[in-house]
Structure formats: structure tokens, C-alpha cells
Amino acid sequence: MSTDVNVKLDTLPGLDSDALPLEVKDLHVEFRTRNGIARAVNGVSFSLRAGETRAILGESGCGKSVTAQAIMGILDSPPGFVTGGEIRYRGVDLLKLREEQRRKVRANRIAMIFQDALSALNPVFTVGFQLGELFRKHRGMSRADSKARAVELLDLVKIPAAKQRVNEYPHQFSGGMRQRVMIAMALALDPEVLIADEPTTALDVTVQAQIMALLAELQRERNMGLLLITHDMGVVADVADEISVMYAGRVIEEAPVRDIYESPSHPYTKGLLESIPRLDLKGQELSAIKGLPPLLTDIPKGCAFNPRCRYVQDACRQDPVPPLHQMSPTRSSACHFWKEVKADV
């Protein structure tokens, strides 16, 4: 069996243990398809501290999953290509590493969970075998030791009767339990960063609450950075520290979670907040955002949101694309008129 126990992480060129566990700078990804070039990610930047939860929020098709796939190196390529930018783990740009080193960082330091656990797990092997394999392959552990660790992990994610269930196959678990198994796999090698791509979207709310509580607890215990990709503004309000809102492949607003909900400063963020019904409010008016998000093969000139924006002015329809204006040390908005938008309540 091939193992990577001999590739040493602490000899990575430029590794700086004081640098952030994850920093994405000006990332560009495009898909070269028959229908043209889909510009899925167009200069996305954000950073993640140890122990921090950053939400990447946006509606379907805005480039959230592609951003995560680029970080994990699991982009569907071709047709997808990273065409620019940096993805730094503790100062080291993963995009510049040799393939074998890059794989090692991704296996050990950065892990990911998905919406659909069933497709992330192998149906023909028991859960215990799949967990154990991680320890055999990456830690060179014996069969017996790795099996024992597998049981510990199932315990950690609060799967009842872990000793028995470790011998079962993925399809024998309920949706929520399967999500726990996937979390166990992701945490097996003690990653510093966990990327969760819509981890609870397919689950019922009571199960969603259990899974989010588990993730928060594990994150706290391990001081992990959590990159939470979601379209659910309720979940974000409950767990995130920082938010990056995406639209058409760009981050259009970035702020601490309280600020964004209290004083959204980009018309898209504002529109999203005004279009969700709230459980605790009665007879609330919903103001929908008109129109549709653009096709990424055909993003409007100037501000991509301009055809749907109620604050639009002539300048918005012309290039350049509005840059992320630094509004304060902790906030930024990619709207020419963020001051007006922020003041308009």
C-alpha cells in the first residue's frame, strides 16, 4: 500500500506557523465549455483564522462550491481551470507546490465535507474500513490500531453504539448519521481547516440543528478554522463570525456577522435580507429582488448586479467593475454607492 507518511509537512518551502491557516487571494477559476467561458470565480479573496467561522453566502451558481473545489484541488478539470491567484496554507501557496506535497497538505491540514454524504463515501466498504484506511495510509498504523481509532472517531461524532456500527456500510445509516460519518472522516487526520459545503441543506431542521451543534463543538475543541458555504441566512446568523457574500463569482460584501445583518451595505445583501421570511415575525412584507442572476458565460458589464439593482446609476453599467471599497478596518462593499445604501434603512 502506498503511504505518504514519509512526506514531511514541516519542510514545506516558506512554511510559517504564524501565518494564517488559510488565505485566498484574487482567485480566478473559469470553465471552458462549448457554450463559452463560464467565469465562475473572478478575483475572490478572504482569509480564515484558527478557530474562526467564515461563511461564504450566496445563491446557487454564484461560485461557492467552485471556490471550495479550487482550494481542495478537486476542480473538475477540464473544463475547469484556476487561471490566477493564490491559495495559501500557513504562508505556502498551494498552487505553486509539487503535486505530491500539495496532496499531502490537503489530506492532512485541510478537509472538506459535502451536502451529499452518500456520494462522498464508498458504498462497497464498511465505514470502519474507510476510516481506518486514512490512518493506515497517512499514519502508517496497523490494522488493529486503525480500527480502534475508527471507533473513537464515531464516538467523537456521537454515533450511538460505535463499536457495532463501525462494521456497517454507508447505506445502513440515516441521512443525519451519514453526515456524522463524513465529519468523522474529515476530522480523522486533525485538520486545521474544515470546509463545509452546504453540510445541512439536504437535512430536516431538527437534524440540521444537531449537525450544526456538533460542528460548532468540534471546532471549539480543536480550534479549527471553519469555512461554511451556505445559502441559508438563518444558519449563518447562528454560527458565523465573518461573512463573505458572493454574487456572480465575486465577493461583493465582507463584514463581521452582526454588521451585515444590522446595516447591509451592498444592495444585493440588502435584497437577500429583505426577501427571507422570519419565524419570529408576523405579517412581514417580503420585497423580492427582481430578475435573475446572470449566466456566468455572460456577466453584465460594470457591476454584475446592475440589471437587478434598485440603486443603479449610469456609472454602474460601465466598466470598471466596482472594487471592494474598504468601509472600515473590518468591512468592505463592492458598490459604488455603499454609503447611500448603508444609510438607507
Binding site: 445563491e59 431542521v205 440543528a209 447562528d238 456577522v257 419565524l279 408576523k282 412581514q284
Partner: protein
């Protein structure tokens, strides 16, 4: 005429569980819907909530006549659908139309939008003579906010939200009084979801429609419903006005469900009464005795295993709640 346009009395649907390939033996039944009573009043919206598998879609399919009940009665405008003549049953059916969840799969990709919206006239030709149908379809497109000139386009040329509008236009074709929406906005992004909900509310005002609105999203249901029924394992466990259910829930399941819904306001983080349920929903093929929620209920006593609690108003609950120990608990607002 009575104010009640649709009524279900003790409606039951059991799907047989069989074993064997050549000679199928019935070894049990999935009790998908197991005794449901409900009434829909003219012009109101009745919301139905509950987690996946609790029987919402099966109930919906029985209400629109796509599924035959195992037992129980269905009354449309006061007439028992099992007892009326064939013609009258067809007329009753025509009066209730279904809007389904998934705008991506519920429309035939090979039919034009005009043919899709006009298809109900093929089934009920008496409603409108042929030469007038095209104009009616264009009128319907306009009504739901689509361009009438797009009548010859195909479903793939429309976005998800627009496809849901096509589904709504088709449901309106025969001038029904009742529309049954089964998760109509669940597959849509929030900005589009709001557009479709606003459209449904506008149509209700303009056409005087009565809605049954099924969804697993409790915030969406609060927004649109006048009254709400909460389902668990094939039964209604609590029902009341939107206010009663959200402000004064009395059934432990309703309380757990509501407490699990995140509220999009970070200021409320950690300030609400959180109930985290343990365990999974039992199989509807083998539901627990007595109260079906007892395997996950933190208040369960011996009596809960012995006697199924009746869905009724009682001390502790001014509105019907199927719990022996019903009592109000606010789980929706911040507690201080």
C-alpha cells in the same frame, strides 16, 4: 353554501409492504397517512408542516385525487367524492389543482409552454372550446408574470422561478377554487422564492383562491398561512391559527421543530430556548404504540405508550394538540 370548501375525514393511506418475487405476500404496511381530519375554509391558506417522510405528499395526492385513500372520506364543496356520480367527481377534481415542488422535473421537456399550460383543457374539454384556448393560455402567462409571447418556448428556456410560474399557470387553467401547493418554493433561491410567494398571495387576492400550502420550511409557512397543521408520522399532532402555532405551541414536537429553525438575526444567537431532539424518526411501517412521538419526547410518561393522545383542545392548550401533557412554551422569541 358552506364556508368549508374541502374536508378530509379520518383519511388513511397504507402502502402494502410485500415480500417474494413470484407470489407477493403482504408482510405489513407503510402507514404513510394514518387518520387525518382537516377542513379548508374559503379564501384561506392552510399550511401543513412536518419533516420529510411524515406523509405530506401522500396526503396532498389523496386530496387532489391522484391517490385512492385506504379509508376515510373526502368532501369537496360538501360532497363526498366517493359517493357522487362520475361527472360530478370530475367536476370536483377540476376544482382542486396541484402545484408541485420541483419545477425542473414536473414539466415535460418536449412540450411547449403553451401545450403544457393548455393540457388540462384536453382532459376537461368542456371547460373551454378549442379556438379560445390559445388566448386563454396567453392570458394565464400574463397573470403569472410571464411574457405571453413566449408561448412557443420550451421549459429549458426558463429559469427555475419561471418554471414554477408555468406550473402555477397550468394549475389555474381550469379556474379552480382550491390550489394545493406541495413544497412550491423549496427548490428556489431565496430572492426567487420571495417572488413566487408574492405571486401566490396576489393570485389569492385577485381570484379568491383557497390554498393548502405544504412545506418543510416553517418560516415560509408562517409568512403565508392563516392556519397551520403540524404532522408527525402520518398524523396531525397540533393545529391552530398561525399565531397559536408559532406564538403558543403546546405539542413537544411542534416546540422542538420550531426551536430548531435558525432565525436570521445574529443578535438572537443563543438567546432562544433550544430543544435538541435525539434519535431518528421511527419507521412509518412500525410506529410506536400510543403517542407516536414518545420515543423522542423528553416529557414522555407511561400513559404515553398506552394511550394515543387525542387531537383536542384541553387544559394547557386552547387549540387542538395531541399531547397528554400539552402546555405552552415559547421557543420562537429571545428569552431573557
Amino acid at each position: 353554501m358552506s364556508d368549508i370548501v374541502l374536508e378530509a375525514r379520518d383519511l388513511v393511506k397504507h402502502f402494502p409492504l410485500t415480500q417474494g418475487i413470484l407470489f407477493k405476500r403482504q408482510i405489513g404496511a407503510v402507514r404513510a397517512v394514518d387518520g387525518i381530519n382537516l377542513q379548508l375554509h374559503r379564501g384561506e391558506t392552510l399550511g401543513i408542516v412536518g419533516e420529510s417522510g411524515c406523509g405530506k405528499s401522500t396526503l396532498a395526492r389523496m386530496l387532489v385525487g391522484l391517490e385512492t385513500p385506504t379509508s376515510g372520506d373526502l368532501f369537496v364543496q360538501g360532497r363526498n367524492m366517493a359517493k357522487v356520480s362520475g361527472t360530478e367527481r370530475r367536476r370536483g377534481r377540476r376544482n382542486i389543482q396541484l402545484v408541485m415542488q420541483d419545477p425542473y422535473t414536473s414539466l415535460n421537456p418536449r412540450m411547449t409552454v403553451g401545450d403544457i399550460i393548455g393540457e388540462p383543457f384536453e382532459v376537461h374539454p368542456e371547460v373551454l372550446e378549442k379556438p379560445k384556448r390559445r388566448a386563454r393560455v396567453q392570458e394565464l402567462l400574463d397573470l403569472v408574470g410571464l411574457n405571453p409571447d413566449h408561448i412557443n418556448r420550451y421549459p429549458h428556456q426558463f429559469s427555475g422561478g419561471q418554471r414554477q410560474r408555468i406550473g402555477i399557470a397550468r394549475a389555474l387553467a381550469l379556474n379552480p377554487e382550491i390550489i394545493l401547493c406541495d413544497e412550491p418554493v423549496s427548490a428556489l433561491d431565496v430572492s426567487i422564492q420571495a417572488q413566487v410567494m408574492n405571486l401566490l398571495e396576489k393570485l389569492q387576492d385577485e381570484l379568491g383562491l383557497s390554498y393548502i400550502f405544504i412545506a418543510h420550511d416553517l418560516s415560509v409557512v408562517r409568512h403565508i398561512a392563516d392556519r397551520v397543521a403540524v404532522m408527525y408520522l402520518g398524523r396531525v399532532v397540533e393545529t391552530g391559527t398561525e399565531d397559536q402555532i408559532y406564538e403558543n405551541p403546546t405539542h413537544p414536537y411542534t416546540q422542538a421543530l420550531l426551536s430548531a429553525v435558525p432565525v436570521p438575526d445574529p443578535k438572537l444567537r443563543g438567546l432562544r430556548d433550544q430543544i435538541v431532539l435525539t434519535g431518528d424518526v421511527p419507521s412509518p411501517a412500525n410506529p410506536p404504540s400510543g403517542c407516536r412521538f414518545r420515543t423522542r419526547c423528553w416529557k414522555a410518561q407511561e400513559i404515553c405508550a398506552q394511550r394515543a393522545p387525542e387531537l383536542a383542545a384541553r387544559q394547557g392548550s386552547a387549540h387542538p394538540s395531541a399531547c397528554h401533557f400539552a402546555e405552552v412554551r415559547d421557543v420562537v422569541h429571545a428569552q431573557r
